[in-house]
């Protein structure tokens, strides 16, 4: 363990804003991606069933 106290851990030697700003945005980005994927999977059920007109010519 590198840290003498929890405060030191949070402060990151004075670089807390940069370090936690990096890790937090990273975690947030993954969370948003996972949520968006969940929404997309749920939306599949609501899609109208494809009919002949909806099919692209190259399908």
């Amino acid at each position: 363990m590198n840290w003498p106290s929890f405060d030191a851990f949070v402060a990151m030697g004075g670089y807390g804003l940069y370090v936690w700003g990096s890790f937090a945005v990273c975690a947030l980005a993954f969370a948003v991606e996972l949520l968006a994927l969940r929404q997309r999977r749920k939306a599949l059920q609501a899609l109208p069933p494809a009919d002949a007109a909806g099919q692209g010519a190259g399908a």
Binding site: M12, Y18, V19, S22, C26, G56
Partner: protein, 240 residues
């Protein structure tokens, strides 16, 4: 085992569905171990203080941004050359995660640059070519979304992906070819300029990012398959 049979979306869909949870669990376990080393165990750097800890997500994100682009260009090319629908769907599934990794590489890089270089951004070759990579991902997705016919969209976007692939070696070698503020690579086969524990933490985080990407891309590919193939009887069964 005949892998080509999984080129059929109908066969690939359940296979990917079985793989996603395993990649997800692996990503979580690797991330827990990697974060423990990155934030708790690894010692403070004698030059950069604790700001260097950004490396544990910056480098994995930057590596993945390039790896995912090459994978996207590869599958886009497969879709273009062999007229393989599943390959094109995989390319499309890779793009958002690749763009996300590119954004994270740029974001964490800015937050690392400020305390170590004194600036959030500089137009040097490494940073600029990585920004171009983000635009290539966005361009790929926008172009695909702009064309109604799916297979035409696949082909047009594939051409863009292939032309843009030239940017990846430019990113990788930019620190050697040009004088950049960005440092050269610290990790080399047969002798890295990093303490062993830092290297282990970074490799664990890289594997975690890799497993996460597998899980998310396969899950997204499953969505794309059902969105496109829902006219088929098997897809109706999978949706029910």
């Amino acid at each position: 085992m005949n892998w080509f049979k999984y080129a059929a979306p109908q066969r690939f869909h359940p296979l990917a569905g079985r793989a996603v949870p395993w990649f997800g669990v692996a990503a979580v376990l690797l991330a827990v171990a990697g974060l423990a080393i990155a934030l708790l165990v690894a010692p403070t750097d004698f030059q950069q203080g604790d700001a260097y800890r950004i490396i544990f997500i910056h480098v994995p994100a930057a590596w993945m941004s390039m790896v995912l682009y090459m994978a996207m260009a590869f599958w886009a090319a497969m879709g273009l050359v062999f007229n393989a629908r599943l390959a094109s769907m995989l390319a499309l599934a890779l793009a958002p995660t690749g763009a996300l990794m590119t954004f994270l590489a740029l974001w964490t890089g800015a937050l690392w640059g400020k305390p170590t270089w004194g600036t959030w951004w500089v137009w040097d070759a490494r940073l600029t070519s990585e920004l171009i990579l983000l635009f290539l991902y966005i361009g790929f997705m926008s172009l695909h979304a702009a064309i109604d016919d799916e297979r035409r969209a696949d082909r047009a976007a594939a051409v863009l992906a292939l032309v843009g692939a030239v940017n990846v070696p430019i990113i990788y070698f930019s620190v050697q070819w040009w004088n950049t503020l960005h440092q050269g690579s610290s990790v080399k086969l047969g002798g890295s300029s990093m303490a062993a524990i830092m290297l282990v933490g970074m490799l664990l985080m890289t594997l975690a990012f890799w497993m996460y990407s597998f899980a998310v891309v396969l899950a997204r590919a499953r969505c794309i398959i059902l969105e496109r193939e829902r006219h088929a009887a098997w897809a109706q069964g999978a949706l029910a």
